[in-house]
C-alpha cells in the first residue's frame, strides 16, 4: 500500500482579491491583492486595525458583494454572523431558527425538533419562546449562532461576533464556540481586532495591513486545546502579534 499525500481541496480560497469602493478621486481601495486559503475544518482568525477591510473581505466571501478583481472560491454553503445578532425582532428565538431551516426547505414537523436541538447546542433550551429583546446580548448572539448552524453551512464567517459583549460572557462564548466547532468540521473565518481572542480561538492568525488591506503576516497557533484566554502561551503569542500590529499601525502615523 502506498500512502499518497492527498491535498484536501481548500474550503475557501482567495487569489489576488482586490476591492475598490466608488470610483475616481473618492475611490477607496479596501482590499489589495489578498490571497488566502482556509482548509476544511480550519479556524482562521483575521486581525487588523479598524477600517482595514475585514468586513469587506467577509462580505465578498459570503457573496454579498463582488470583488473588483481577483477570484474567490468557496466550497459549500456559507453562513455569516455579525457583531449584532441581526435576529428578526418579530419572531421568537425558536422561530428565528426555524425560519433559517424553512429557507433551506426543511419540513414543518422537522423544523420544530431541529430548532429545539440547536437551542440545546447553545445551552438555551428554556428560552425558545422568548423574543430577542427579552434576551441578553450574549444570549442573542448564541441564538444567532444556532441560526447560523441551522443553515448547515460548511463555512462559517464571523465578523467580530463577540465585540459588543462583556469579558466574562465573551470568554464563556469562546468555550461554546470551541465545543460547537469540534466534530462539525466547520471552516471558520473569524474577524476580530482583539489579538488575544484571535490566539485563543484560531488554528491560525492572519494579520492584515491597513488601507489598503493586505496580508502581511500569518501565525500558526500551536497551542493545545482546550485553551484559556489568560494562559501564558496565549499571552506570549498575542504579545508577538500585537507588536507586529503596532508596527503596522504606526507606519500610518509617519
Amino acid at each position: 500500500m502506498t500512502t499518497a499525500v492527498t491535498e484536501a481541496p481548500a474550503a475557501v480560497t482567495l487569489s489576488g482579491v482586490s476591492k475598490v469602493y466608488g470610483r475616481g478621486g473618492t475611490a477607496v481601495r479596501a482590499l489589495d491583492q489578498v490571497s488566502l486559503a482556509a482548509a476544511p475544518g480550519e479556524f482562521t482568525c483575521l486581525i487588523g486595525a479598524s477600517g482595514c477591510g475585514k468586513s469587506t473581505l467577509l462580505s465578498l466571501v459570503a457573496g454579498l458583494d463582488q470583488p473588483t478583481s481577483g477570484e474567490i472560491k468557496v466550497g459549500g454553503r456559507v453562513a455569516l454572523m455579525f457583531q449584532e445578532p441581526a435576529l428578526f425582532p418579530w419572531l421568537s428565538a425558536a422561530a428565528n431558527i426555524e425560519l433559517a431551516l424553512r429557507a433551506r426547505g426543511v419540513g414543518r414537523a422537522e423544523r420544530k425538533s431541529r430548532a429545539a436541538e440547536l437551542l440545546d447546542v447553545v445551552h438555551l433550551s428554556g428560552f425558545g419562546g422568548k423574543r430577542p429583546h427579552e434576551l441578553s446580548g450574549g444570549m442573542r448572539q448564541r441564538v444567532a449562532l444556532a441560526r447560523a448552524l441551522a443553515q448547515e453551512a460548511d463555512v462559517l464567517l464571523m465578523d467580530e461576533p463577540f465585540g459588543a459583549l462583556d469579558a466574562m460572557t465573551r470568554d464563556l462564548l469562546h468555550d461554546e464556540l470551541d465545543r460547537v466547532c469540534a466534530g462539525r468540521n466547520l471552516t471558520v473565518l473569524f474577524v476580530t481586532h482583539n489579538v488575544r481572542e484571535a490566539v485563543r480561538l484560531g488554528d491560525r492568525v492572519v494579520l492584515l495591513s491597513s488601507r489598503p488591506g493586505r496580508v502581511i503576516a500569518e501565525y500558526p497557533v500551536p497551542i493545545q486545546r482546550p485553551r484559556r484566554i489568560d494562559a501564558t502561551a496565549v499571552a506570549e503569542l498575542a504579545g508577538t502579534i500585537t507588536d507586529r500590529l503596532r508596527e503596522e499601525v504606526s507606519r500610518h502615523g509617519k
Binding site: 454579498l64 455579525f82 441581526a86 428578526f88 425582532p89 425560519l99 445551552h123 427579552e134 468555550d175
Partner: protein, 286 residues
Amino acid sequence: MASSTLAGLDALDTQEAAPRDRRRLAASAWAGLWPKLAAVALVLLAWELVHLTGWKKFVLPGPGVTLSNLWQQAQASLLWHAIATTLERAVIGFALAVLIGALVGATVSRIRPLRAAVGSLITGLQTMPSIAWFPFAIILFGINTTAILFVIVLGAAPSIANGLITGVDYTPPLLLKAGTLMGLRRLSLYRHLIMPASLPAFVAGLKQGWAFAWRSLMAGELLVIIANQPSLGVLLSTDQDQADMASVVAIMIVILVIGLCVDNVFGMADRAIRRRWGLMAGSDAA
C-alpha cells in the same frame, strides 16, 4: 462547569419582569385615561363660562342643553340609523383604500423605475384637499354613495401606499443581509422579512389614512346629500337648515367620538407591535 456558569449568567440576565397585577394594570389604565377626562372637563368648563357670559346666547346653547339634546337623540332610532349609514360608508371606503393603497404600495416598492414617478404622484395626491375632488366625483358618478367612496379612497389610499413604501425602504439592511444569506429569495424574502419589517410604518400609514378617510367622508356627506338616506352629514345639514345649534353640536360630538375611537384602535395596534418587538420606551432597550 462552563455551561453552568453560562446558565447562571443567563438567569441573571433575564430577571422576570414583575408580573403585572390587577392594581398596576388599573393604575396604568387610569394614567392613560385621566388626561383625556381632564381635557373633556376643561372644554365643558370653558364652554359653560362662555355660555354664562351671555355671548350669542340666543344661538349658542350651553353644555347642559346640548348634552340633553344628545341624550334625547340617542333614545330615538334616527341617530343610530345615521351612524350605521355613515359607518358603513367609512368601513367600505377605508377597506377599498387599504386594498388599493397596499396594492399600489407593494407594486411601487418592488419596481424601481415606477418608484420616482408614482412617488411624486402620491405626494401630489396627498397635498390635494380631498373636498376639491367632489365636483369631479359628482359629475363622474352622480349624487350617490359611489361619489363619496371615490373621494374617500383618493384621500386615504396615498397615505396607506406611502406607509407601505416607507416600511419597505427602511427594512434594516443588516436584516436584509441576514435574510438573503439564510436563503430567503424574492417572494419568501417579502413574506418573511420585508412585510413584517414594514408593519409599523404600514400601521402608521393606516392611521393617517383613516384620518383622511374620516375627513373626506364628512365633507362628502355634507356635499352629496342623498334623499331618504339619513347619515351624520345629512343630520348636520338638516340641523343647519333649521338653525338647531344644540343638535348640530350634539352630532359634532358623535363625529368626534367615532373618529377618536377608531384612531385609538390604530394607536393600540401600534403599541402592541412596539411591545412585541421590544421598542417600547422605558422597557429594556439594550
